[in-house]
C-alpha cells in the first residue's frame, strides 16, 4: 500500500478501515539465504538494502522483542555528518546523503528535519578544534559555518551570553544537521524490507550460532533452528552476548546513556544545540517536547536506566547555558545501552567465522548512522568486501593501532 496525502484523505473519508498492516507477521522458515540478528534500525536497514541494492530477498530479520525496540527507539534523534577523521567523515557523509532521500526512498515520513546543528565552543582551543572539524567537513563535501559570538546570538538569542561560567566564544553551525522521528526510521525500513520480501520475525531470540568447520550454518532461536550460510550480528546493546555465541570477545563495554524529554511546549528551540563545556545537547521535537541528553552514567550497565548524578549534571548544564528552559518540566527520562568501543568508532566487518559478519560498536552515535550502516553491512554481506566508506571500521584495528579516536581519550571504553 502506497502512502500519500491523498490516501490519508480517502481513507479518512471511509473510516480508516482500509489501512493494511505495515508489515507481515511471518513464521520463520527453516532456511534463508541471509539471517540478520537484530531488528533495530541497523538490522532493518541492512535487510532493506540487501533486498534493494543486492537483490537478496530471502532474508530473515530475527528480533528478540519488537521491531525498533532498542536504541533506535530511545535516543535524542540527532542526525549529523560532522566528523573529522578520515574513515568517519566519508561514512557519516554518505549516511546524511541517504537521510536526505529517505522519505522518498521508503515512502514513509521519517520527519528528517535539517534545522541546523550548532556546536558551541568556550575557549580559543575549542574553537580551533572545531575549525579543524569544520574544515574536514567541507573537505568531505559537507557543510560547516563558523559563527562568532554575535553569530551565535543571532541564531540562539536565548542563551546566557552575559552571566555564565564558561562564556560562549562562538559555534560551529552544521546547516544540514538536524533531527528525525526515531521510531519512524525503524518502521520505514521495516515496511520497506517487508515489501521486498524480507521476513521480519519478532519475539524470536537467537540463543546460539551454529558453526561447522569454521563456517556459519545457521542459528538456534526460541522459535527453533534456522539455517543460513550468511549471518549478520546487528545487535548494538547486546553485541558482546551474541558474539560470544560464536566464541568472540569484542572490544566493547556496555554503558548506559540517559536522555530526557520535557512536556510539550510551543516552539522555542529551532536548532540542535550542543554545549561545549559540559555534556548537554538539546532540540525540540515536532510535538513540542525538549529532547536532551548528556554523557554516559560512566559505569558498565545493561539496565537501560540511570542515576541522578548524571541527570543533575545535564540539568545544571542546561541551566548555565540556556536558563530560559528552567521552567520546562522533565516528563520522562530513559536509558539506552551503548556499545562503547576503545576508540569511539564502530565496527562493520567480517569475523573469524566464514559467513558471519558483525555490525556493532556504535557508541552513542548509532542513530544517524542507520542508513549508511545498513547500506555498508548489506554490501559487505552481499559481496564479501567492505564498502568503500566503511573500510576503516575494522574489527582488528585496535590490535593494529589504526584507530579512529575522535575524542582522543584513548583505550578506555566509557570515555568516548
Amino acid at each position: 500500500m502506497r502512502y500519500s496525502g491523498l490516501k490519508v484523505i480517502t481513507e479518512g473519508l471511509f473510516g480508516n478501515r482500509g489501512w493494511t498492516p505495515a508489515w507481515r507477521d511471518p513464521a520463520p522458515k527453516a532456511e534463508y539465504d541471509v539471517i540478520i540478528i537484530g531488528g533495530g534500525g541497523h538490522g532493518l536497514s541492512t535487510a532493506y538494502y540487501l533486498a534493494k541494492n543486492h537483490g537478496i530477498t530471502n532474508v530473515a530479520v530475527l528480533e528478540k522483542g519488537y521491531l525498533g525496540g532498542g536504541n533506535v527507539g530511545r535516543n535524542t534523534t540527532i542526525v549529523r555528518a560532522n566528523y573529522f577523521l578520515p574513515g568517519n567523515s566519508e561514512f557519516y557523509s554518505h549516511s546524511l546523503k541517504l537521510w536526505e532521500g529517505l522519505e522518498a526512498e521508503l515512502n514513509y515520513n521519517v520527519m528528517h528535519s535539517q534545522r541546523g546543528l550548532i556546536n558551541l565552543f568556550h575557549s580559543d582551543g575549542q574553537r580551533d578544534a572545531f575549525v579543524r572539524r569544520g574544515n574536514a567537513m567541507i573537505n568531505q563535501g559537507d557543510d560547516a559555518i563558523l559563527l562568532d559570538r554575535d553569530g551565535v546570538r543571532e541564531h540562539l538569542p536565548y542563551l546566557d551570553f552575559d552571566n555564565t561560567r564558561f562564556p560562549i566564544y562562538g559555534g560551529l553551525l552544521h546547516p544540514r544537521g538536524g533531527t528525525a522521528r526515531h521510531d519512524a526510521v525503524a518502521w520505514g525500513y521495516a515496511r520497506g524490507a517487508d515489501r521486498r520480501g524480507v521476513d521480519l520475525i519478532q519475539n524470536c531470540e537467537v540463543t546460539g550460532i551454529d558453526i561447522q568447520g569454521g563456517k556459519v550454518v545457521g542459528v538456534q532461536t526460541t522459535r527453533g533452528a534456522i539455517r543460513a550460510r550468511r549471518v549478520g550480528i546487528v545487535v548494538a546493546g547486546r553485541s558482546s552476548q551474541v558474539a560470544a555465541m560464536a566464541g568472540m570477545r569484542l572490544p566493547i563495554e556496555s554503558h548506559v546513556l540517559q536522555a530526557f524529554v520535557t512536556e510539550g511546549l510551543k516552539p522555542v528551540i529551532n536548532h540542535v544545540v550542543s554545549f561545549g563545556m559540559g555534556h548537554f545537547y538539546i532540540s525540540q521535537s515536532d510535538k513540542g517536547g525538549l529532547v536532551f541528553g548528556g554523557d554516559l552514567d560512566f559505569y558498565a550497565s545493561y539496565a537501560a536506566r540511570g542515576n541522578l548524578p548524571m541527570v543533575e549534571h545535564v540539568m545544571e548544564a542546561g541551566m548555565t547555558l540556556m536558563p530560559m528552559i528552567g521552567r520546562a518540566k522533565v516528563l520522562r527520562s530513559w536509558g539506552g545501552i551503548m556499545d562503547m568501543t576503545p576508540d569511539g568508532s564502530p565496527i562493520i566487518d567480517r569475523t573469524h567465522v566464514e559467513g558471519l559478519f558483525i555490525d556493532c560498536g556504535w557508541n552513542y552515535g548509532g542513530f544517524k548512522a542507520v542508513p549508511a550502516s545498513g547500506w555498508c553491512m548489506a554490501h559487505l554481506m552481499a559481496t564479501g568486501e567492505p564498502h568503500e566508506v566503511a573500510r576503516k571500521f575494522r574489527l582488528d584495528r585496535f590490535a593494529t593501532g589504526h584507530l579512529l579516536d575522535e575524542e582522543g581519550t584513548g583505550s578506555q571504553h566509557n570515555l568516548h
Binding site: 500519500s4 479518512g12 521491531l67 562564556p167 515536532d286 522533565v330 516528563l331
Partner: protein
Amino acid sequence: MRVDGKGLIDRTKPVRFRFDGRDYAGYKGDTLASALLANDVRLVGRSFKYHRPRGVLTAGSEEPNALVEVVGPSNKTPNVRATVQEVFEGLVTQSQNRLGSLRFDLLAVNDYLSPFLSAGFYYKTFMWPRAFWEGLYEPLIRRAAGLGSLSGRHDEGVYEKAFAFCDVLVIGSGPAGLMAALTAGRAGADVILCEESHALGGRLLSDGGTIGGLPAGDWVAQVVAELEALPNVRIMARTTVTGAYDHGTYGALERVGLHKPARPNLPRECFWRIVAKHAVLASGALERPVAFENNDRPGIMMASAVRTYLNRYGVVPGRRVTLFANTDQARGVARDLMAAGVTVAAIVDPRPDASSVEDCPVHVGAEVIGSRGRLGLSGIQVRKGSEIIEIETDCLAMSGGWNPTLHLTCHMNGRPRWSEELAAFVPMEGAVPGLVAVGAANGSFSTHGALVTGHAAALKAVEALGRKVSVAVPEAEDMPYRIKALWAVEGTGRAWLDFANDVTTKDVKLAAQEGFRSVEHMKRYTTQGMAPDQGKNSNVAALAVLADATGRGIPETGTTTFRPPYVPVSIAAMGAGGRAEGFAPQRFLTSDQASRDRGAPMIEAGLWYRPSYFPKPGETTWREACDREVMMVRQAVGVTDVSTLGKIDIQGRDAGRFLDFVYTNTFSTLPVGRVRYGLMLREDGHVLDDGTSARLGEDHYLMTTTTAAAGLVMRHLDFVHQAFCADWQVRFISVTEAWAQFAVAGPKARELVQSFLETPVELPFMGEAPVRIGGVDGRLFRISFSGEEGYEIAVPTRYGEALFRDLVARAETMGGGPYGMEALNVLRIEKGFITHAEIHGRVTAHDIGMEKMVSAKKDCIGKAAATRPGMWGPEREQLVGLKANAPISAGAHLFVPGTEVHRETDQGYVTSVCWSPTVGAWLGLAFLKDGRARHGEKIRLVDHLRGLDVICEVTNPVFHDPEGEKLRA
C-alpha cells in the same frame, strides 16, 4: 459552586486570583482547580491535538486536562496543573494551547478534520515535495503542537537542591503512610514522611469515615500531631517522591514557594536526594476513566475527584450530578453529594448484580454511551439493554475502578503483575530493593487494609534496624473491592483514552489493524501515554483495548514502562545551582587580584582563571599587548603565574623506580638538585602528558603536570601504583594548591631572581635548589617554557600574591613586567614547545619526534602498545613548524600546492599559530604526513571557515634559538 459547611479550606482567609484576565475569589487551602470550580468555571483548557474544550478531570498531579500557565512578575510557568497549584493572593493564571480565546479556539477546526488525523497519519503524508517539509509542513505542525509556552527569558527564580538521609522513607500520608510513619516513628527510627499535597491525610481527607472510633479527619490530626512532636520524624509536605534509584536513593521535589507570592530568596522548588535504608510506598491508587463517546467534555470528572472537591474544598462541580461507576466504593460519592444537598440525577452501574438501593435513581447493568454540551456537559445518554435513557446532568462522576500508584516500583525495571481479582496491575515484590508497597498502592483498597499493611511494612523495617515497637492498629472499614472491569463502552464514535494526547479507542484499534500490535508499538504509533500525565489515567485501559483488538489477554499484552520522574520536574529544580557561575568550581590564582588590578582580562583555563594579557595605556588590541609582552621577555624579563600546573610530591625509596615506570624516560638516574623533562604515555601508547620532574632529595621528587591533565595524571599514578606496584616504597600527594609558582624569564631573569634570594644561588639549566625569599622557604627551578633563560620560583600559597606583586614591581624597574597567556603561547610556539593543542590524545611519541625519549632499557606504561604497526611510521602525521608571511590559522588543513582540496588529498592540519614578533612572521605548529622528512617544502594551508588559503614553508618546529644557547646561558 461552593457548599456551606464542607471542606478544609480556611473561609476566614479569602484570596483573589486571576484566570484568563478575570478576577475570581477563592480561599486559602484551595487549589486553582477547586477555586475555579467554586466559581463555576468549567472550561479551563484545550486538548493537545483536536483542541477540544476541556475541564478539570482529577484532583491531583495526574491531571491531564487542566494545565495552565502561571504568570509571575518576572516570568511565566507553562503546563501547571490547576489541580496542584494552590491559590494565593495575586495569583495570575491563563489558559494555554489555543489560537484565539479559550472559548473560540481557531484550532478547534482540527476536531472536524479528525478523520484525517488518525494515529500515525503524519508518517504517511507531508512527503512531497521534499523541500516543503522544513519550509511548510513542519513549521505548521510545530506551531499547532506543544502545550504551554516558555517566555524565552532567563529563569531567574531561586531553586535549591539538598541531600537527606533516613532509616525509613514513607511515601504518602494516607492511612497506610500515616500508620507506617507512626510505627517507625514510635520505634525511634529516623523517618521522613513525604506528602505530595499541602495537607496530610491522603484520601482520608476526601472520603471521611472513621478510624478507631474517631472521625477520620480527627485521627489524621491526632497522628500528625504526634509525628510532629517526634524529633526523629521529619514531615515533608508539598513533596513528591519522583524517582527510585540505585541503593536506596530517591529523588523528591518539594514545592517550597509555588503557593506564595514571589519574593527574593524564596526558593520556588527544592530537589531532594533522599537516601533511605528502607522505604514504604504508600502512594495510594489512581482512579481510571471509562472510554465512551465524547467522554472528554468539561464536567465529566473522576468520581473520587468530585468527592475530593466536595469534602476537602467544599465545592460541587455541578448542580445535577450523575455517577457512572463499577465499584461499590464509588457509591460513597453519590451519598456524600446527597448528604450535602446536591441533586444526584442518577447512578449508572454497569454491573448487572450491583445494588440498586440508593436515595436516587440507579440504573444497574447500564452504561453511559454518549454526552452532549459544547463547552460543558449538559446531558448524557445511557444504554440499559436495548433502552436508551437521556439524562440531564452537568457533572458526570465516572469511575472505572482503581490502579495502584505503583510507578516507583517500576523505576528500576520492575514489571508489575496483573491481578485478575482487582482488574489492575499490582507491584512486583522486591522490584526496588528496600521498598515495600502498602495500602492501595499494593492493591489493599480498604482503610483497614491500608492501616494493616502500612503497619506491617514499617514493623519489618524497624526490626531490620534492630528496633522494637508495639503499636496497635485501629479499627476501620474493610469493604471488599468488587469490580467488573469496564474499559471502553461499545460504540462507534470517538471515545477518549488518553485525554492529554487525544488518543481514542479508534486510534488504538487502528494501530492494531496496521500491525502495531506490541504494546510499545501501539504506544509509539498512537502517542498513547506519552503526554504530561504519562498515561497515569489511560495506560491500562489502552492496553485492555489493544488486548481486545489483538485477541490476547492483558498479561500477555504486557505493559509499557513507567520511568522517572513520577511527576514532571522542572529543569531548574534538578539543575539547581548550575545557573551562571554555579555550573563548575572556580579556581583562582594567588595573583588573581593583582592581575585584575592591572586590567588583565581573565580567561578560563579549565577550572582556573588566568590573565590573558596585561594592557598598557594606549594599547587598543590584545595583539599590541601580546607583542609587547613577548618582546619584553625576549629582551628584558617577564613574570607569569604558572601555579595552575599540577604538582605532585613523590617520596620513598622506590620513587625513582616509580617515575621510571610512568615516564618513558629515566628519572632514577637524575641527580639530586636537577630537573628533567618527562614524557608520559597512556597504556595505549599515546601521549598522556608532559612536564618536568625535579629530584629534591635522594627519595624525594616533585613532578609537574600540565594544567589540563593534573587530575588525570594523579589518578593515573594512583592506579599504576596500587594496581601494579603497591609493594613499592613510594607515596605521593598532590601539592598543586600548596605552592604558588611564578615563571621569570628573559635575559634579565637571573638578575631579578637573585635580587629576591636571601642567599644567591647559581643554578645550571635544569637545576633546582631550596631557597629563602623574604624569610620564607621556597624552591627555585631553572626551567623555561619560553626559550629564554628562565626560572620558576615556588613559595607556599599564602605568600603567592605578595611575591607576585613584588616580582612584577621589581621587573618593571628593569624594563620587564608581567605577561599573560597570549604571550606565553607565542613564546612557546616560537620555541616549538607543545601543549594539549598538540598532545590531543591521538598523538604518539613518534608523532612529536620524541620516540628517542622512550627508553629501550626499561619497561614503562604505554611502551608496548606504542609498537603497534599503526602507531608509527611515515603515513602518520608528524609535528612540524609552519612559517608564512600572511595570517594563518589553527584548525586549517594542509595540502600539496597544486592539488585539489578534499579529504583524500588532505596532508594534515594546524594546531597552533601566532604572529611572532621575534621572528617577524606567522608561525604555526602542525601535524603533516611524514612531516619530518618534508622540512623546507612549501605547503598550502586552507581554512574554508575563515577564508584563508596561504602557502607556508614547512620547518623544524623550533623557530627560536634552535640550539638552546639562551636557555643554557
